[in-house]
């Protein structure tokens, strides 16, 4: 069966990548998992690489420890720190390609994904979102918003518009993020943008890709690309950096005709222009969590800072570990749906770091950072001491 050819190809790719690793261990110092599990869960990124490559070489993938291998491979948050470090200091091994390739291999061999991720994939396939929510309710947030205020949004692809606001699954459904999409819509209205929202938006496919379900990812990508084409837009704005990253770095060629921006990039350019003049919010000390997919993956560090610093009466402090050194919140790479091994959790570490700065607000620009940090505030019993706010919420509240 063609299955063997396919499996062998996957194995070869992984071995090829793993073979380039020089075991210099530079990547250890930047791996959030290595840090928080003190080397117990994984021996750094090169450790994960070695685990999967030896499993292949020794024919052990389907052996007695296949679940341990699976757990190791799926514990990576795909934060990209190791790839950047290896590029800057050593050989430039595409480590994540091998880790994600390993996940694809395990899924093909029916060992992966993680059990709790199965329902996520089923939900993606049936309802176009990973949260087991009805597709028919995806635009409820917009319907509710239209009851409160009049909006000029277009509905794509039946209308046409210049800008497509790609809301994403988390902003559409998650209760913690209920103000984010409305904030962005409010900002778009304030600058009089010609924007539209897809009537039948489906997941960008990031969870499927990260879990190793390439087939499902391809289906979702194809579906989205068709809708983007039909909408005749020029620019696609996303709320989640995972969505923009996926579009830019993982989607088929056809996506290249669109300008893809995370909303922070777009609005940073608009500050001071076109009705976007942030006023005073009152005295607030704000810090910022650089989302991995926005910063390390897309190099967007300044845009969100520009927005935050433009807020009047706000005192902006940097986290000790910021920009490329930002600590992952632990939510990416499919990790939202599996149990965490680390104690303390990455997100809890981040909250504590923010508290030591005297920050009252942690701003972020990623729905999963937002959720992870919200949860961590609760589990560290820091409610009342610090809040999470999305950059969009802060900007919208200030105009």
């Amino acid at each position: 069966m063609n299955e063997d050819k396919f499996v062998n190809q996957l194995k070869e790719n992984i071995l090829d990548i793993a073979g380039r690793c020089r075991n210099c261990n530079y990547c250890y110092s930047v791996c959030p998992l290595f840090e928080s599990t003190r080397g117990f869960q994984v021996q750094g990124p090169s450790g994960i690489l070695q685990a999967i490559s030896y499993a292949i070489k020794w024919g052990e993938i389907e052996g007695n420890e296949k679940e341990i291998l699976r757990d190791i491979l799926y514990s990576c948050t795909t934060c990209y720190s190791c790839v950047l470090k290896c590029k800057s200091r050593a050989t430039g091994v595409p480590i994540l390609e091998a880790i994600e390739g390993g996940r694809r291999l395990l899924v093909e061999l029916m060992i992966g994904p993680m059990p709790k991720q199965i329902k996520v994939l089923e939900s993606l396939e049936q309802e176009g979102n990973p949260y087991d929510e009805l597709a028919s309710k995806r635009l409820d947030w917009l319907k509710d918003l239209r009851k409160e205020r009049s909006l000029n949004n277009k509905l794509l692809p039946r209308d046409k518009a210049e800008i497509l606001l790609y809301v994403g699954c988390t902003a559409s459904y998650d209760v913690d993020l209920r103000n984010v999409a409305p904030s962005i819509v409010g900002l778009l209205e304030a600058i009089g943008a010609d924007y539209g929202i897809l009537e039948q938006e489906k997941c960008c496919g990031y969870p499927a890709k990260k879990m190793g379900e390439e087939g499902l990812f391809n289906d979702l990508a194809q579906n989205n690309l068709e809708k983007f084409n039909e909408s005749g837009v020029q620019t696609i704005l996303t709320i989640s950096p995972h969505c923009s990253n996926t579009f830019i770095n993982e989607y088929p060629e056809g996506i290249k005709k669109f300008k893809i921006q995370h909303y922070t990039e777009f609005f940073a350019e608009m500050i001071g222009r076109k009705g976007l003049n942030p006023k005073s919010r009152g005295e607030k000390v704000i810090t910022y969590q650089d989302p991995c997919d926005l910063g390390k993956r897309q190099g967007v560090y300044d845009a969100p800072r520009k927005i935050l610093k433009s807020l009047q009466g706000v005192s902006f402090v940097e986290m000790k570990r910021n920009r490329e050194n930002s600590l992952c919140c632990g939510g990416g790479g499919g990790r939202m749906w599996i149990e965490t091994e680390e104690i303390p959790r990455l997100s809890e570490t981040r909250v504590k770091e923010a508290l030591t700065l005297g920050a009252e607000i942690i701003a972020t620009a990623c729905p999963w950072c937002h959720i992870q940090l919200e949860d961590a505030i609760k589990t560290t019993r820091s409610e009342g001491k610090i809040k999470v706010k999305d950059v969009a919420e802060l900007l919208a509240e200030s105009i």
Partner: protein
Amino acid sequence: MEIFVCLRQTPIIKGEPKIQMDRKSLDLSGLNRHMNEWDTYALEEALQMVQKHGGNVTVVSLGPKETEDVLLHGLAAGAAKAIHIVTSDQQSIDNWTISNVLNHFINKQPFDLILTGVQAEDDGCAEIGPTLAYLLEIPHGSMVVRTEYEPDQNEMKVIRELEGGYKDSLRLKLPALLTVQTGINQPRYVSTMRLRRFKKEATITKLSFSDIASEIKALSPRVEILEFFPYKPEASQVQWLKGEPVAVADQLFERLRAKGVL
């Protein structure tokens, strides 16, 4: 081991099912369908057994064309053979008839074990397992949460789930039939790409339901659905507490205090 797994494809109903005007049929068009949840555990149990003890798994299902999907899933997950007993869309066939048709086909084959789920998501009858065992004249164990094959004695030891945390254990002579409870194992995930590959390359044996049914003497349904009707709450007693969480908590507390509960 030769294992047969009987699968059912059920519609995924989110929200309320649509009843036709005459109340005699359901509009299930446009709904996604999937393998009955209990049967996914039965399939996995069978696959793990042959992985451990050698042998083959054959998946069988009765249904219209769409049923191919669950059989394909079975093959892609590792079953050696798939049998589709094809029914026409309109038919609503009772469980007695299904059991007889399955029996008529299966009893001509050599087998050690038949696995199926405890019940189906659609009718929740939990009927076909023990009925099929009766027709095949083999022992059955239902609500099984653990299996242990004893090849030397050609027997199967099972642990069954009763109520309230109680379980019992039985030893059955093979061939036997087991109905399997959720949570007995972790069903493996079959990826989209794997399914597509199997769709191109695998073969499903097709049999005609009406042909088989007509071969069975004096087979006729034992029950008939007269009508469907939506759930009607009898004078719903629920009092809704509304407002912000703090206000709701206050209201709830008042009421529970007044009732002497808190």
